[in-house]
Every structure is written in C-alpha cells, then in structure tokens.
Subunit: 194 residues, 2 copies
DNA sequence: ACTAGAAATGAACGATCGTTCAATATAAAA
DNA sequence: TTTTATATTGAACGATCGTTCATTTCTAGT
C-alpha cells in the first residue's frame, strides 16, 4: 500500500557529511546540498526536516564513523596503544590530505557555531565527549593488559589526547606540509601523562 | 577644502572584530555589522571596500592586539617565561569568560574558511605564523638570560605552544567550566620540549 | 557668508537564502 | 487493472544576503 523509499539514506548522509565538513554549517547552502546529494528540496525536507536536521544527522554519522575507525585500529594493531597511535595518525596524516577538511568536523562545528544554534552546538560537544570516553575505555583496557602502568590516570590521558588532536589538526591546516607529523605524534605518546 | 572623517576608525574596527570573532565570517551579516559599528552601508563600503575587506582589517587588528598583550605580559612579569605563562593564562582563562569567543579568532577563521576566501585564509595563516615568531623571539631572549637551557630548541617550543593553545582553547569551549585550566597550563611549561 | 568637495546617508538592487506545497510519479494492495 | 497511499518533484515564496549610488549633510578654505 506504500511506495518504498528510493534514495539510499546512508549514502545521502555520507555525501552531506562531506560537504558540511568541508564548508561548515553556515558556509553550506541548501542548493549546494541538493546538487551533491541529488535530491530535490521537497524530498530533503520530507526526510530530514530542515538544514539543521540534516546537519545533526551528519554529526551523528561522523561520530559513528570515528568510533568505528577507533575500534578497527585497536583490534588490527598488535597492541591497544599502537592502535590508538594508528588512529591518531589516520586522523592527522591521512585525513590531512584526502578528507574534506584536515580539521575535525566536531571541533570545526564547536568553533563555528554559537548559541544561535544551541542544539547543534550541544550535539557536537556531546559527540566529542563520547569519543573521549571511547579513548578512556581503550586506555583502561590497555591498563588491564599491562601496556600502561596502573598508576596512570586514564581519564587524564584521554583528555590529553583530545587536546593534542584538536591542536595538531588546527595547526596542520595552518602550516600545511613540511611538518614532521609522524614524529610529533610519537612524541605525544612518549610524554606525560603517558 | 575637505570634510574630515567623522567616525573613529580604531573603535569601529574594534567593534567589528568582536562581532566577527563571535559569529565568524559567514555567520556575520552586513546588517549586523551596520548595527554594531553604527555606520550605514555606503560609509562602510567607502571605508573598507567589502565584507571581506573589513574582515581582513579585523584579523590584522586582532593580531596586533595579541602581539601587544604578549609584549606587555613579558615585560610586566618578573621573568620572560612567567610572562609567556601569564599570556597563555590570559588567553585561555580570562578570555574564556569575557571574550567574544573562547577560541582564538585566527584558529576559528582557519577552521571556518576554505579556498573560496583564500585571501582571508592566507591572512589568518600568516598572522598565526607571526605570533609564533613572536613566541620564538621571546623564548630566545629567555635563553640568553639563562632562564632556559641553551640545549633547548626555541622554534620547537614556540610551535608546541601554538599547538597547546589551539588545543586547549578548542577543548575548553567544548567542556566549559570544571576544568583545572591553570594547572593544565602549568603542566605545559613543565613538560618537554620545555 | 559662500562655495567646493569629501563624507555620510539609506532606499533600492539583483542574487541567493531556507523553506513550502500543489502537482505528479510510483509501487504495493485490492 | 484499478485503487490508494506515499515518495518525489520543482516552481515559487518571503526574507535576507552583500552591494551600489543618487542624494544630502557637513566642513574647511576663500
């Protein structure tokens, strides 16, 4: 009795994520989104409600992808700590060249938005905390496996990691190329609080 | 034979800086600027050329203010290193509460803009490098005065400082309040490469 | 006081913004 | 095959965007 949805929701959100990630919320127009995801205004609004609604879904999508990548890194590598390091290198070195923006989409969003879009801002903040918690969980697992001393504070290390990633990604957009990124990342894991 | 300019250019740029700093380039409209700086469109365009032109002047103004604050901190405090630390605390703790945004305007701009506004983007990148150079100059002065070992790499420390500031300011906007910011800043100056 | 010329004004421009909705197309149920 | 409900379309909306320019206001030099 119903006509089934034609468009591939996952694929559409992925394309929208890339555009929003590149140009930011205010820098992206609905017209550009229509072109990129190949949908007409009516369909977009039926499926996502508004420009804000679609953006919110892309934030969730971006976060989920990040968590999956972290999980993948930590299981693929020979140790959890090596997995974390591989994850950071993926973010900062690989994505610096091929991602829509070398910066973290969540950090970009937190930087861009004000309380005029408090719902989106809160979503981005919350997602950043989710990722930090995932770091902490991995670090605690590493601690149980003896990779990290029991005297170390995993919450502190997770927070430190977030700060280093945010700082490095911003810096590397400003000073593109010519940076010993791999070496700088190694340094992070060889300094306190690690 | 000529009518002298009425508006106070310095004051106007300062107000424009605060609005742009708060809302970003794309998030700020000329109408909002008109209200804040109390000038009519014609006057603004006669004086600054365009929305981009005014933004570029605010970037220069912001950078100049930062350099002056750094200079002031380093001469007021009892040592250069203490001055640098005071400067960082000014940025991260004081400005987190009262500035238009807790984030660095240059970092915000670099995060927000793409090559669609390459002139502004380059200006922001360049200004960040100028400030890093000022850090390096102060560190070298501290080195000559024996505050820092001669074995330390001032360029490396200056870069490290930039990354920590960018990271901390982003992080503290995401996790407002409840952070031991002063302690975290002390930690920066007590870890490598310091 | 007069006047020349620059500064300041604000109505108005075309373009684009995010969004709506009547009309159309389509696929499943009858 | 017909009916029915929903997915999709795209022209069009009012609002706002950045910008222009004919006009008015003001001041310094005569």
């Amino acid at each position: 009795m119903t006509k089934s949805t034609k468009f591939d929701r996952e694929q559409v959100i992925d394309k929208a994520t890339n555009l929003y990630w590149q140009k930011g919320f205010h820098g992206t127009s609905m017209r550009q989104l229509q072109d990129v995801i190949d949908m007409r205004p009516g369909s977009i609004y039926a499926a996502f409600g508004s420009k804000e609604g679609l953006f919110k879904e892309t934030l969730a999508h971006y976060t989920q992808q990040g968590l999956l990548t972290l999980e993948r890194c930590c299981t693929t590598e020979h140790s959890i700590l090596a997995g974390l390091k591989a994850f950071v290198k993926e973010l900062i070195i690989v994505q610096a060249e091929q991602a829509p923006s070398s910066m973290c989409m969540l950090a970009k969003t937190i930087g861009e938005l004000t309380n005029d879009n408090s719902e989106l801002l809160d979503e981005a903040k919350s997602s950043l905390k989710t990722i930090e918690s995932a770091f902490q969980t991995q670090l605690e697992k590493a601690q149980l496996q003896g990779e990290i001393g029991l005297d170390k504070d995993c919450a502190l290390m997770a927070r430190h990691l977030q700060i280093q990633i945010a700082g490095l990604r911003t810096y590397s957009k400003a000073y593109d190329g010519q940076l010993p990124l791999a070496q700088m990342i190694d340094q992070i894991f060889d300094s306190p609080p690690f």
